[in-house]
Subunit: 177 residues, 2 copies
């Protein structure tokens, strides 16, 4: 069981199979699972569990260990990170179809930021153990999921690297004579 | 064939099988392939090709499309990116055991930066078509390689995101009363 199971304000909704329709509906707006067929989503859904969280619940807490990723099904999430002074900064707000927490699911390192439910939040959860079973049971489909995750992280890495370049240039504008 | 095959100053050394020993030697210092056994590296090496590049050869060019990643076997590489003014900035220097170009191999987007040989450079190359064949032929081992790539991108994403946070805080220091 994942740590969300013991969080106050979080309700377990069962495995993700009944949510396959909803998952397929929202994947039209995201890259992850882009080229998954309905049958493949159904197979993956057997390895995921669904939850409902009350408004304000911190489903992921910065600095804690965590072994799962979330797929937002309904509602929104505020992504918050402490700055160098320990003050919380909202770094993103995400809605249905977005995934959260992939980094820690993959590498087991502490959470980079916190995720707080904005209003009632429904999400599907995939943890590392389930991912391992999925890959062992369905290696070809597992590889497809891993490639989708690579595409996602890649996209973020390109975006963040670009922002870092811009930020550094603005800090140290080069004087050209 | 990859674009490196047609680059002046680049010599094709054959498939990577004869380099398995060298690859195993250098992987002790890197995370990628960390938990690959010799037999598994041998299997992967069949899908890779090796090259030698003369000093100064730009084996990867920023902005170009590219479908391969490199594993540096011998020598060093300067990673260069143009800033907003079009001036080349050295953003990293890497040596044996480091991989380059994974992002474009995965997503097919233009190269984020250029890679220039510092001295004579030997590298093993894996392109997208070979990766696909490897995954199709050896799905379990393919999944293992994809997880290693995920770990690597993850690590970079954490590092670059942390640097971006710091950079932004330095640009906009918050005044506390």
């Amino acid at each position: 069981m994942s740590t969300v199971d013991t969080l106050p304000g979080v309700e377990f909704l069962g495995n993700a199979t009944p949510f396959v329709g909803r998952i397929q509906e929202i994947i039209t707006v995201i890259r992850l699972f882009d080229d998954f067929e309905l049958r493949e989503i159904e197979m993956l859904a057997r390895y995921m569990r669904c939850y409902r969280a009350a408004p304000g619940v911190e489903v992921i807490r910065e600095g804690e260990s965590g072994d799962f990723m979330l797929l937002v099904l309904d509602g929104g999430v505020e992504v918050v990170k402490q700055d160098a002074r320990g003050l919380p900064q909202v770094i993103a707000t995400v809605g249905p179809g977005k995934t959260l927490g992939e980094m820690s699911m993959i590498d087991g390192e502490p959470r980079f930021s916190s995720c707080v439910a904005l209003g009632t939040l429904e999400f599907a959860l995939l943890d590392r153990a389930s991912l391992s079973h999925f890959i062992a049971d369905e290696p070809r489909l597992g590889a497809k999921l891993l490639i989708e995750l690579l595409m996602l992280l890649n996209q973020r890495l390109r975006s963040v690297s670009g922002q870092l370049m811009t930020c550094r240039e603005m800090r140290h504008p080069r004087i050209r004579y």
